[in-house]
């Protein structure tokens, strides 16, 4: 499988990365080289093989359903580029 320019632009949109035409063109070649490389996997017989979900055989740990942390909203927003009254500020999203 390979990707064309319009697919690259669509994927960039999905990944929320702005690319101009020149960058998209360059990426198309690079992505196709990588996709070509991973195509080797087509040689492998995976009939009846279970996909790996965890390298260590283990059952998911559970903990009591209780509040164990929190109460420091100011710290949570302390690294935000823009915040006000302990809220993250973003451009207007609803007209």
């Amino acid at each position: 499988m390979s990707v064309d320019l319009s697919t690259v632009k669509r994927v960039a949109r999905l990944a929320r990365i702005k690319v101009d035409d020149e960058q998209a063109e360059k990426m198309t070649g690079e992505l196709n080289a990588i996709l070509g490389f991973v195509e080797q996997l087509d040689e492998v017989n995976i009939e009846g093989v279970e996909p790996m979900t965890s390298v260590v055989e283990t059952s998911m740990k559970k903990r009591a359903d209780g509040q164990t942390d929190g109460g420091y909203a100011d710290k949570v927003v302390s690294n935000a580029p823009v915040s006000e009254d302990n809220f993250f500020m973003v451009p207007k999203v609803v007209e």
């Binding site: 499988m1 990707v3 697919t7 690259v8 994927v11 960039a12 949109r13 999905l14 990944a15 929320r16 990365i17 702005k18 690319v19 990426m27 690079e30 992505l31 080289a33 990588i34 996709l35 490389f37 991973v38 195509e39 080797q40 996997l41 040689e43 492998v44 995976i46 093989v49 279970e50 996909p51 790996m52 979900t53 965890s54 390298v55 260590v56 283990t58 998911m60 740990k61 903990r63 420091y72 710290k75 949570v76 927003v77 302390s78 690294n79 935000a80 580029p81 823009v82 993250f88 973003v90 451009p91 207007k92 999203v93």
Partner: protein
């Protein structure tokens, strides 16, 4: 390089305990070494002298009170992907500009609880994506090693290039590193240092900037096998904050050092003989086999038939997980924000400016292979291949193999700019990536020099949670090969 910065952790520990030296003197020596050498090597992107001096003072008080902890007063460098409270933590990406976490990673907390001193944060490939430390926002790291008779710069490997270079240049006693596809072992091999990626789940990933969560694992880079054993003992723990950390006792790894390997079965996988591999690597491997045989180990040829598929499967699994993990960098909660006309444009502008080319490539690949209609063809298939890779190892262990010996890398250090094609760069991890895909531990030990005088490493791969065996066998290689240091200190002012 002063006498103090020459000491291994084990030696420094003895001298500190005997009151021959103080933790403050040791820390000052390293801070001076950084001051003199970092401009040329670029291993540190932030030096935390004040914190280091404070911690060293506290260590001296502990030692004076007879309450020394296992790493009391040992000066370490910390890879920039470990969250360190109030200190530069950006995984060397522009998108995390100015980020100073309000919390400490579990691994660094464990080290500080055991008395370690933090000298600063170490350079790395952006988000640990790279094999040459050329993708860092903070510039290339330069390998302290040079080819004989040449003053041309070489890469230290990656992604833990800053960690490996700082250890090789004696700008820290040892360093934390991390390994998703070979990022501890490959730079260790290229700088003549020792590094171990423990079993997946051995160390908590909490507070480590995530790249590919099913593959990422913390580990040390140090100057000796014993120093790695000392550090891993402190780094490893079960942690309620990481559900994938494993609740198994952490042995005293130092106890394995010096134990005989007589009767141990060492597997030599025939699939690791690669076409076009330099003769020297093959020779080094044979030398390693001879050393282990001399020490009484039984050498057996084994087959790991799916080896060649590990790297292509990795380049589906790792980017897929990276594209999910890196979705959090959107200009809202931390780091860089580049304005746009609406929120989506703000996201797109921020990510376009904040991510470097290699990171963008991997996020794009990951987004593509996870997008509607492609999941089965790529991700699901890669996870099935991963099952087969793990089965290869399981079969070897079932046949009684205790550890596997391979080369660490297909070649020695190369020059910056020498490899520009992404896929060629990826091939640097061809021997290391299998351990990540199967979750098993792997260690690189320097074993010789090539014709240009550059270090080469041998890799040991072990059974899950049997890192002790790797220290045991690794020390035999270290004893036989000796230790390797750059021939001249050209980097200090």
């Amino acid at each position: 390089m002063t006498e103090l910065t020459k000491l291994t952790i084990a030696e420094a520990r003895d001298k500190l305990a005997a009151r021959d030296i103080t933790a403050s003197e040791l820390t000052e020596s390293y801070l001076s070494a950084i001051d003199a050498g970092n401009e040329a090597i670029n291993a540190y992107i932030a030096v935390t002298g004040d914190i280091a001096r404070e911690q060293a003072k506290a260590s001296d008080a502990k030692i004076a009170a007879g309450e020394a902890r296992p790493l009391e007063g040992i000066p370490l460098g910390i890879k920039d992907l470990y969250a360190t409270k109030g200190v530069h933590t950006q995984a060397c990406s522009h998108i995390l500009d100015g980020f100073k976490p309000e919390y400490e990673s579990t691994v660094t907390q464990n080290l500080f609880d055991d008395g370690a001193v933090m000298l600063g944060k170490l350079n790395m490939d952006e988000f640990a994506m790279g094999s040459s430390n050329e993708t860092s926002f903070y510039g290339d790291v330069v390998n302290p090693w040079r080819r004989n008779g040449s003053d041309k710069a070489l890469v230290p490997g990656g992604s833990s290039g800053g960690s490996a270079a700082a250890v090789a240049a004696h700008m820290c006693a040892a360093a934390t590193a991390s390994d998703t596809g070979g990022s501890i072992r490959q730079p260790a091999a290229l700088t003549g240092t020792v590094g171990i990626k423990p079993t997946y789940g051995r160390c908590s990933r909490w507070g480590m900037v995530a790249f590919a969560s099913s593959l990422d694992q913390a580990g040390p880079i140090g100057r000796t096998v014993r120093d790695n054993a000392i550090l891993l003992k402190s780094m490893a723990s079960v942690d309620a904050k990481d559900t994938t950390s494993v609740d198994a006792p952490v042995p005293n790894y130092e106890d394995f050092i010096g134990k005989s390997i007589k009767g141990m079965k060492i597997g030599i996988p025939k699939e690791y003989h690669m076409d076009g591999m330099p003769e020297e690597i093959e020779k080094l491997w044979q030398q390693g086999i001879a050393w282990l045989k001399e020490a009484g180990a039984e050498i057996v040829e084994i087959s790991l038939p799916h080896t060649k598929y590990a790297l292509p499967a990795y380049y589906i699994v790792a980017p897929a997980e990276a594209s999910s993990n890196l979705a959090r960098y959107d200009g809202v909660r931390y780091g860089l924000r580049v304005p746009g006309n609406d929120i989506v444009e703000m996201y797109e502008n921020t990510r376009a400016a904040g991510f470097g080319d290699e990171v963008k490539r991997r996020v794009m690949i990951g987004t593509y292979v996870l997008s509607a209609g492609y999941y089965d063809a790529y991700y699901l298939k890669a996870q099935k291949v991963r099952t087969l890779i793990k089965q290869d190892f399981d079969n070897a262990w079932a046949d009684g193999v205790d550890a596997i010996l391979t080369p660490t890398t297909p070649d020695a250090a190369f020059a910056p700019g020498e490899i520009t094609d992404p896929v060629t760069m990826y091939l640097n991890d061809v021997f290391t990536v299998t351990a990540n895909m199967a979750g098993v531990p792997g260690m690189s030990i320097p074993a010789g020099l090539n014709k240009d005088g550059l270090p080469l490493g041998l890799q040991l791969i072990g059974k899950p949670f049997e890192e002790g065996t790797l220290f045991q066998v690794g020390e035999v290689i270290e004893q036989a090969a000796g230790r390797f240091e750059p021939s001249a200190n050209w980097w200090s002012k």
